[in-house]
Symmetry: D2
Subunit: 266 residues, 4 copies
């Protein structure tokens, strides 16, 4: 990753107010802002962390985007799962290299690229063709086209069933995950993990009820809060405002045969 | 991962109160608890999610431990970084397959196994030989001995310098990370990411001061709070108690040549 | 309040571990602990903040209990509303001297003594005679018998109706406050404030639905989190554990005639 | 409080977006907004909770402001202490009717009116004459001129000393409260309570160090977080954004004679 910037790569430009601009570098390209423009040539062949100056005098710091930065700047239609939740989802779903994961719906692909980068083989079910297409483009743009070998997106409705079997994980970002519980029972191997991201607690309660009536056990729900700090000399304090809510994360684990025998774990 | 349990594998047993027991399965082995014992033979060859019954009648649910579960149960001397922080660290440090990461100190290896599982090549600096040895054992136990090919632990003091160069990331869990800032400047390539985990805000302030005076930019500090929910029928509410603090996560990025030209990004 | 301790007063003894003991001082009395005993005579006639020594050598710091301290130590059967919520309730209910407040149920009187101390005239509805009696005793013990002149507790069911009219505030700590909404509409004057404390979000949703269908407007729900800090020399950090939940506070305001005309305030 | 609106009273007008306008009612007055105007005559003589219509058709709900609402809308120069902290301060400082409280600095009077309404006799030290004057006007506007009998503001620097003695409480909202600790030792009676509001943790650490070296004990620091909820039919979730920080509240209690004997309470 210490190689210089090349054509068709993504670069992230930061101005001094922390505004971020995602640029696809091209020979002969220009990045235009209110402060004039920057020739892509000023970036191509240079190392990460370089500073470039626009015609109007404004300076920009140029780096490769992290996954978190890319997710917030990539083309997207649907609401994405935010970076603050992506890391915890990796841990809750216990994603490992080679894990066979069903993801539905894929939306703009933020979660897909997180799962893929962690080494999973991902099958995505997505109802909307435009989302399916954009997710694949975003994955290829960030992870490279070779990641598509582990990423298959099908335009279909997960509420109607899951064809895969012996899956390791099922990860859901859709409004009615309780309609997927029965399908997931059949699609996961025993010990497999089910994770759902949901915006409202009303949905969570309905999902948990469905899980209680299923072969899943060890159900847990958590919300993740990130509190950032302002640290500048003697001024050390939490930032004045924060994101108070995005979604609730619910996980459960498929029990083996004869679940009626299993202890009800609390 | 749908294969049955085999000898020398780790199994996690849950009783109905949610207590967890980590067991290394062996032919002829027994798991003893206050409720009698379970023959390992009752688990070997069975699938995950199976329920076994101890001689005293207590039932246990048996699964393979997730990384989060393993970290909390594995042999450890030092305080480990908790699962709630491990996922966010993966995102902050933007760990990718093949990333060259320096980690110091390695402690019991919780962070090492998280980085390794995400595909990184990890060099660990650790002062204490007993920690270095245990970390490697824990990594091998959870990820398999083949993971050691990407994990080299050296018994040395990172405060005295870093030999590696062109690293992608430096991740620190030690008391005085400000003493590593200069070394990390030389060891990371431009655009490389520095992440430190620190228990007190006093340490964070001192680190941020050192970062301000360095070639690093885009410094940020965040704390991650996990709030779990109690959901049982109509009783839907946050749990009554939570972990309010473990540590603060600080990240920064190495700027390129001529940092005096870089915009001071806020 | 700078007067010395007198007989029949409450004193709070702190040991060096922060354990607290509430004692009613009497001539000839003794406070017994695992560390021996302290003669009340060692406290009577002494000023607040005095240190006394038990026969076994342990030392105790003696102060008059604050309302917060008293609430946590007074005789109580039901769950009390915690100090962290009492202050916010005073603000939400906008309690002022002379305010006519209906409180139901009164439980052990923690909220009653908070309202009374803020100057309100309180009518309490409480189903259980033992609670009604204890609440009055606790109020008299903390605020003095003269406070009972502004505190009338009736053994009755607020779900069946409210006799009072032109009340300033209605404050509820009971399981089904939606059953009180219609009664409160008739009992409060326009502009009057309704506040309910509820443990679960399920209850809150049901209450908010009832408020939406009522003459109340400006409904809001908030939860209050207190995060304490450990500060000792260089060790400055949040405490490791905290109370994550007690209850949700919901408030609303009675609109005037012709509410169908009122703007739906968000 | 069920009386109709009268001249020279404050009224709070809410539009349907929740925007709030504080108006001092006068015979012949008009409230002007982008939506036309409302004659004060449409409000005078009407009960709280009435709805009035501006010439442009917009409707406003009219109530008397609560203390919380008044504080956010009253004329103010300095940063005020927010309502979320005012209730907790009342509990931490354990304010009771007749309590003799020193407050410094008074700023715009938000805390003063909270202390006064809870029944305290308040002496305010304030360096800036314009603040002192505005605080008194705000107090009179919200609590009535009779409250001024219990409110004396002196234009002086509390860092230079406190003349009062045998005070019950000292409540501080100023940048260097550690410079007041020695003065407060002499001004409070034993058992008296010291409370300081501070924006940064750096200041808190310095204050706690001063308290550790003083005759105060039982020092505690807390921050108060309010999380509001969005509740509308099935959409039940925390609001997406929240105030993450205003200030830290630190309290301590003056120990009696011979503090070297007191147990160090944790």
């Amino acid at each position: 990753m210490s190689r210089p910037f090349g054509a068709s790569e993504r670069a992230l430009l930061f101005d001094r107010k922390g505004r971020r601009y995602l640029v696809t570098l091209e020979e002969g390209g220009q990045f235009h802002s209110h402060a004039g423009y920057v020739e892509h040539a000023a970036i191509l062949g240079r190392p990460e962390g370089v500073t470039v100056t626009a015609t109007g005098g404004a300076r920009y710091l140029v780096v490769r985007p992290t996954l978190s930065e890319f997710v917030l700047k990539m083309p997207r239609g649907a609401q994405v799962i935010y970076p603050k939740d992506l890391g915890p989802i990796l841990m809750l779903a216990d994603v490992f290299p080679g894990a066979r994961v069903l993801e539905a719906g894929v939306g703009s692909g933020a979660l897909s690229m997180t799962l893929l980068r962690a080494g999973a083989d991902v099958v995505g079910y997505e109802l909307r063709p435009d989302f399916a297409s954009r997710a694949q483009k975003n994955v290829a743009a960030f992870l490279g086209a070779e990641a598509l070998a582990r990423y298959r997106v099908e335009e279909r409705d997960v509420y109607e069933g899951i064809d895969e079997t012996a899956l390791d994980r099922v990860v859901l970002d859709l409004p009615e995950p309780w309609r997927v519980v029965k399908h997931a029972e059949g699609a996961l191997h025993p010990g497999g993990i089910f994770v759902a991201y949901l915006p409202t607690i009303t949905q969570v309660a309905q999902l948990r009820e469905a899980l209680d009536a299923s072969a899943f056990g060890m159900a847990e729900t958590v919300e993740v809060l990130n509190r950032t700090w302002h640290i500048e000399g003697q001024s050390v304090r939490p930032d004045h405002r924060m994101v108070a809510h995005t979604g609730f994360l619910t996980s459960a684990r498929l029990l083996g045969a004869a679940p009626e025998q299993a202890p009800e774990v609390r």
